[in-house]
Amino acid sequence: MSRLHDMGGRFGNGPIPLYKNENNKVEDNEPTFKYDWHAKAWAVTLAAGALGQWNLDISRHYRECLPPKDYMNFSYYEKWLAALTNLLVDKKLVSLDEIKKFVDLAKTNNLDPELIKNIKLDQRTWLAKDVQKTLGWGGPSLRSTKNEPIYKIGDNIITLKHNPNKDVKGGHTRLPTYAMGKIGKVYSYNGSHVLPDTNAHGNGETPTPLYTVEFKAMELWGASAENENDLVYLDLWQPYFTLNT
């Protein structure tokens, strides 16, 4: 079974939330950040991530592990902020008491600018002068290994019927439920990449061959597929499927 974030193919969601102009044309010029607090929530999350206490897969899993009622009620950046708060405490960068103290100060309008005046930066802190350099490097997940891919392009495969994460119950994986137990075809091979299923739990990068796999819409959705010729592609790690013989 899965978590709420795993929503591909789910029924019940309404129209895409789009803004239309007076000619009923979809507006395609939404600003980068709609509100200042969106920009701040995003930037604080990136800057805190740069302290090196967690990786991208861990932060994704923290968002997925928010209680279902919060996951559904929170807007996008509220999820980021909630997951960040839990990470900061779990990874001991701040204490729960400190969170409570600063929340009280914020609620009573007592976040005095003196609190952040002449602060000595932590050794690990991401400096403004390094921002462009770090963004340019990014965080590649491709690893050079001696792993040879065991499947080849064109192979017929079938995905696992259940969450591939065998080490952790309800653990992180990138095989969506809608593509479990489905027959597909290997479309391309992309080298060995960090395996989120282990990396999200601090259990190592485990570089593993990654493929792009092609599925027929009819295989995924049966009679409710919109068009018999349509295709869906997913990027799947080698342990997510076996040969369909």
Binding site: S75, A106, L115, D122, P140, D230
Partner: protein
Amino acid sequence: MNSKENNHSHHDHEHDHAHSHLPSDPELRVKAIETLLLSKGLIDPNTLDELIDTYENNIGPQNGAKVVAKAWVDKDYKKRLLENATSAIRELSYQGRQGENMVVVENTPEIHNVVVCTLCSCYPWPVLGIPPTWYKSDEYRSRAVREPRKVLSEFGLNIDPKVQIKVWDSTAELRYLVLPMRPFGSENMNEAELAELVTRNSMIGTGLPENVK
């Protein structure tokens, strides 16, 4: 990262989630966390400004538009772009965070490509910037894989039933960019003029480039 967690998923079983202590007003929530981290020297206020300024002004769909326009006028570049998108995009100095491994998929009269991330909000930052709200919405994430034609029609894009739709669900760290078809009547336009026609949505597959006026 530091501890092995084998039997259950980290804080599932804790009753006292740190985030449940946050105030209900999201603006106050951010302010509290930001000020706490600043007071401990764990974030540099100049870094926050630099990040926000970079993505508001330098990294966005205008970058992807230049990639697309170049591919429209330069056959060799288009070939490199489709064969190794990461290095071809790096030729224009676009690279790095959330675009470390790029894939470009080409629209043709027979094939229409559309990109989604059903599990979260994966998106090619170096060429498109930060994703718009609809891309991150439950509606788009849940429906784009199952009923792409209906979804595209809500964007005003009606795809002929004879055209095949390919949906790319970004489940790993590969980031997808759609190469839309060059608009009719744009034969005499130069690269810079063509880039003006390329919309953000046309590079996600939920729109087309602007028509030639």
